[in-house]
């Protein structure tokens, strides 16, 4: 297993803390040496995931917590966002998550709409699990051209 530093940020699932999570990502991405544009991508993608969790939490009676887990590797940043607020084992959680179904189809995450679409476009890899609560797992590699590989159709095409 590759070595990594792990940092966890826990915030109440409230809109005013999404910006705080964003700032944390910005700082960590900058530590890893991502470019300005890549850092902006990471900020948006992480915000989308946290926003999703906040919106999700708002449907419930009690306001929960969102955990943003970040694993800093030599060549990439992995981010896990969960909305159930309980601590989790990063490695175990990663193993559980599979690729998400095409969200253009009717899926429970369709409500995420544009947000999910942006995450997918801005990160190298995005996986989503909705068992107990929603878990978003995403990866961005250092020094990789965006959109390398396949070109995705836009939301409206």
């Amino acid at each position: 297993m590759q070595a990594f530093d792990y940092i966890e940020v826990k915030v109440p699932a409230k809109p005013q803390y999404v910006g705080v999570a964003r700032l944390a990502i910005s700082g960590l991405a900058s530590r890893l040496g991502f470019t300005y544009d890549e850092i902006e991508d990471l900020k948006i993608a992480a915000s989308e995931a946290v926003t999703n969790a906040v919106q999700h939490a708002y449907n419930d009676e009690k306001v929960g917590e969102v955990i943003l887990g970040c694993a800093l590797y030599e060549d990439r940043l992995e981010i896990v966002v969960t909305d159930h607020g309980r601590s989790f084992d990063f490695e175990e959680t990663k193993k559980k998550i599979g690729p998400y179904q095409d969200w253009n189809e009717e899926s429970p995450l369709r409500e995420g709409g544009l947000g999910l679409y942006l995450m997918e476009a801005l990160m190298d890899e995005v996986k989503i699990d909705h068992g107990e609560g929603v878990i978003v797992f995403m990866t961005k590699y250092l020094g990789r051209e965006r959109g390398e590989g396949h070109v995705k159709p836009t939301v409206f095409s």
Partner: protein
């Protein structure tokens, strides 16, 4: 006739409950001239500030043939919540046979419209000049 009646509104959107250091998240300036309504949006648009932006735009009384210009040149962060507000507003505008122009987009903001394909639906303008060089 074409009297320059300018109305300037300055609204500071600070959160009353949690704002401690006077930090400003989002600000909107509005200049109305005849049938053209210009909004300058300053700050960050995310889940926290988007409802306030939406509320502000909703206050505008829509009239047939009206033109609305949104200047985003001083928006330093935006995500899908912002796009959602603009899409909603665009639908309203269309329903009133009015016109919406979103201008002042830097490369990064423009990309968000591009990725989502919204640039092909809405009228949007990038900042002119050497933006490309500046961001390298």
């Amino acid at each position: 006739m074409c009297a320059n009646i300018e109305m300037m509104m300055r609204i500071n959107w600070k959160n009353r409950e949690t704002d401690r250091g006077g930090e400003m998240n989002l600000q909107v300036e509005q200049v109305d001239k005849d049938l053209v309504h210009k909004f300058k949006i300053i700050g960050e648009i995310d889940i926290y500030t988007a409802p306030k932006l939406k509320e502000h735009l909703a206050k505008l009384e829509q009239a047939e043939g009206m033109e609305v210009e949104l200047d985003l040149s001083e928006v330093n962060y935006m995500d899908s919540t912002g796009l959602g507000v603009f899409v909603g507003f665009y639908k309203e505008i269309k329903a009133h046979n009015a016109k919406l122009v979103i201008k002042g987009l830097n490369q990064r903001l423009y990309r968000l419209f591009e990725i989502t394909g919204l640039n092909e639906i809405m009228e949007i303008e990038q900042i002119e000049g050497g933006e490309d060089d500046a961001s390298v």
